[in-house]
């Protein structure tokens, strides 16, 4: 007889059994590693480890299994645990743990522990179909072997185990003998545990805490060299590197930097410097920049780290740690032969500095791609990431609006009201028929502008097969009497302003106050002299996006061409005039 089978715990995650859930299952493995470092990933959704040691540490197999399932539940995954003698029995126990049983009060308990020595008894009740999928019976085509046993009248593993080993071996050969041993609770293969991942991170402690950034940056250079040596010795490189700086008072500043195996030790030390500098940028409490992942610390920018606004230093850097993230095999880096703009060091340095201040997503590089709307033809990619258009460039994209492209494209379309002469909202039917000619445009609550020309609706119905991305809209181009042109769309019965073609707002100097009056119906009329007086410094400030109102309204200084159907150049009315220079 072979040695008695060792206690094995199997964790089975029913939701992660597919081949596409490897990443999620990796999280589960990491969580299990916190309880027991030597874990074998048996198949997608199933992992196993020796239960004897951890069970003694955590106070029993049931307690251990309960702790682990609770930890997996924290990751929002469902799991079942089974403990038995040998991998095969433990696997069956884990599968059976999810089934409702009479012996538990709650009906379903995700843990099933088979007491030591009673594994053959548990196995005897299992159907022979449990043998399907086991390595030992793979050459018997799994399910067929189980079906054959059923046809022979052997419905449970107990029936199979009751046969004499010699008879089974003579009838089914070596594979049958293996199945027979499994059915008796013997002969499970030993676990092939994966070694715990090596810690490739490097750290430097500062004792006493270092209040100035320069010595930390100096240490970072040596640290970066150590990290690169460690990675290179294993033939690895990392996609990103995480820099963590811990303050004496426990605050921690961590940020990921793009690495791609391209950064030298000095360049990495620069990142550390920028990160520490960025930590010092005073941030007012009203700041809404959510892209920074610093802990919102404030300090005076005098090179002192982690000091409070009132100038009292509450500690320096205690630990600096560099953690390689997304470790991959080092395969080198090759630039494309053509068509790749090389980012010079000078530009990269500037962009990274700004990223250090505002966060990774704050510096973008536009990528021109395909698409039907102006907004979706430009994708902004954070600096340092792969520039790839979201939609294919080469496709024809029927439905695009041809001609002029708006110079102002709002990141988020703005709501507007478009009404006809009678003041009734203009609507577009499902068959793309417009209810009336648009006459007034009001956006963002400012007085309406007279529409002097319009074209549309140009319908767009795309991605009907995808409920999340499907949309139907009718696009318009509108021309208002202040000389501006607008790109508008009707979607879900609402008018949206997507962009504008203007070069400048309607009037030369804008008067937000009511004293200067405007050119819309019902506005208070004021004399030109009054309007000039209104041009004080406060009213002459430039338009800022925070003010959430349109630039410039009032009396138009230039009327666009009166509408004609003739081609563009000829559509101007009035006599030619020489260039004024």
């Amino acid at each position: 007889m072979s040695a008695p089978e060792s206690r094995v715990m199997v964790l089975y995650c029913p939701g992660l059994a597919g081949p596409r859930t490897a990443r999620a299952f990796d999280q589960v493995l990491t969580a299990v590693t916190a309880f027991c470092p030597a874990v074998e990933a048996v198949e997608p959704g199933v992992c196993a480890f020796g239960a004897r040691g951890p069970a003694r540490y955590f106070g029993g197999e049931t307690a251990l299994a309960a702790r682990i399932t609770a930890a997996i539940a924290d990751l929002c995954f469902e799991s079942q645990a089974g403990v038995a003698d040998g991998l095969f029995a433990a696997y069956l126990a884990a599968r059976a743990a999810g089934a409702p049983r009479a012996d538990t009060a709650s009906g379903i308990c995700p843990v099933l522990v088979i007491p030591p020595g009673r594994t053959p008894e548990f196995l005897a009740r299992q159907p022979v179909s449990a043998l399907a999928g086991q390595d030992a019976t793979a050459d018997l085509a799994g399910q067929d072997f189980a079906a054959l046993l059923s046809r022979l009248g052997l419905h449970t593993l107990g029936d199979l185990a009751a046969l004499s080993p010699d008879d089974v071996a003579s009838r089914f050969g070596a594979a049958g003998e293996t199945a027979h041993r499994l059915a008796r609770g013997l002969g499970s293969r030993p676990l092939a545990v994966r070694p715990p991942a090596e810690d490739l991170s490097v750290a430097q402690e500062f004792d006493p805490p270092e209040p100035l950034s320069e010595p930390v940056v100096f240490a970072a250079k040596a640290l970066a060299e150590r990290m690169h040596e460690g990675l290179a010795a294993r033939g690895l490189t990392c996609v990103r590197v995480q820099v963590r700086a811990v303050c004496a008072d426990g605050r921690e500043n961590r940020r990921l930097w793009r690495h791609d195996g391209l950064l030298s030790a000095a360049a990495l030390a620069d990142r550390v410097r920028w990160q520490l500098d960025g930590w010092q940028v005073p941030a007012p409490s009203t700041s809404t920049t959510s892209t920074t992942d610093t802990k919102g610390t404030t300090s005076i920018p005098d090179g002192t780290i982690g000091s409070t606004p009132d100038g009292t230093t509450d500690g320096g850097i205690v630990v600096l740690r560099l953690v390689p993230d997304q470790v991959v095999h080092a395969t080198g880096h090759q630039l494309a032969l053509w068509g790749e703009t090389v980012v010079s060091d000078r530009v990269a340095r500037a962009a990274m500095r700004v990223q250090a201040m505002l966060g990774h997503e704050a510096v973008l590089r536009p990528v021109l791609g395909g698409g039907r709307d102006v907004a979706e033809q430009v994708n902004d990619v954070p600096f340092g990431e792969k520039r790839q258009p979201r939609l294919a460039v080469g496709a024809p994209w029927p439905g695009r609006i041809m001609g002029a492209v708006p110079g102002v494209v709002y990141p988020f379309a703005r709501e507007a009201d478009v009404t006809d002469d009678a003041g009734v909202a203009v609507t577009v039917t499902g068959r793309c028929v417009i209810s009336a000619a648009p006459a007034w445009l009001a956006a963002d609550g400012v007085p309406p502008l007279r529409i002097t020309g319009w074209a549309g609706p140009w319908p767009l119905s795309e991605r009907w097969w995808d409920p999340a991305a499907a949309r139907r809209r009718a696009r318009f181009q509108l021309l208002t009497d202040d000389g501006r042109a607008w790109l508008a769309a009707v979607q879900d019965g609402r008018w949206l302003i997507e962009g504008g073609f203007w070069l400048r707002a309607g009037i030369t100097r804008r008067c937000p106050g009511a004293s200067c009056g405007g050119g819309w119906p019902g506005a208070p009329r004021t004399s030109p002299a009054q309007r000039r007086r209104c041009h004080n410094d406060a009213h002459r400030t430039t338009w800022l996006p925070q003010r959430r109102r349109w630039p410039g309204y009032g009396k138009p200084s230039f009327r666009g061409p009166s509408c004609t159907a003739t081609p563009p150049i000829a559509s101007w009315t009035g006599r030619p005039r020489p260039v004024s220079s």
């Binding site: 704050a362 002029a404 042109a485 400048r504």
Partner: protein, 234 residues
Amino acid sequence: MAAEVSRSPVSQAADPLRDSTLPVLPALRDGTLPVLPALRELLPRGGLTRGSVVTVAEFGLLILALAAGASADGAWCGIAGVPEAGMLAAAGLGLDAERTLLVPDPGHAWPQVVASLLDGCELVLLRPPAQAPAQVRQRLEATLRRGRGVLLVVGDWPGAQVRLRILTQGWTGLGDGHGRLRACCAQVTADGRGEAAATRTRWLWLPAEDGNVSAAEPPDIPVPERHLQVVRAG
């Protein structure tokens, strides 16, 4: 041979800056960043003088067109504080999207952001989130002179070398329920300090029908028309 080719335009044209079809000579480019040919007449040296501040009253195609010439010539362009910059239109004017950095929201630390951008980019387009104090302006101008870059500002910037404004604009091609926007004729005026003190006004197609910027011919130029409007009945 190369020297001959580069010198020949000078001998043919009395003033190379007046003839917008000629390439800008390397000697003239040392101190300036190139702009689109149609915009040369508006600027004192036929280009954006390095280390200078150029303002445009409001954000629109004009400031993108100012940046386009240098970007097409190989300069990096940073755009700070303008989340609604239409990069597709800018690319149509010649701005190279590959060599563009966008910082849509520079936040409260915008002077540091702009200074960092000026270290890396030759051209920075900025709409300050707030009125810049004189001290901040002076520090940025010092950075600008050191880095030999050009700062294009949307809005007001006291002490700017060149100020550009659009006086009038008129779009063509749109009818009453038909047609589409094709081109815009705009009157642009430039003034400033020093050599840019003289006011210059030009009519431009911005953009022209082919998407570029070109000088408007006299017959094309619209006449601003006064439309009577019923203000109050009775």
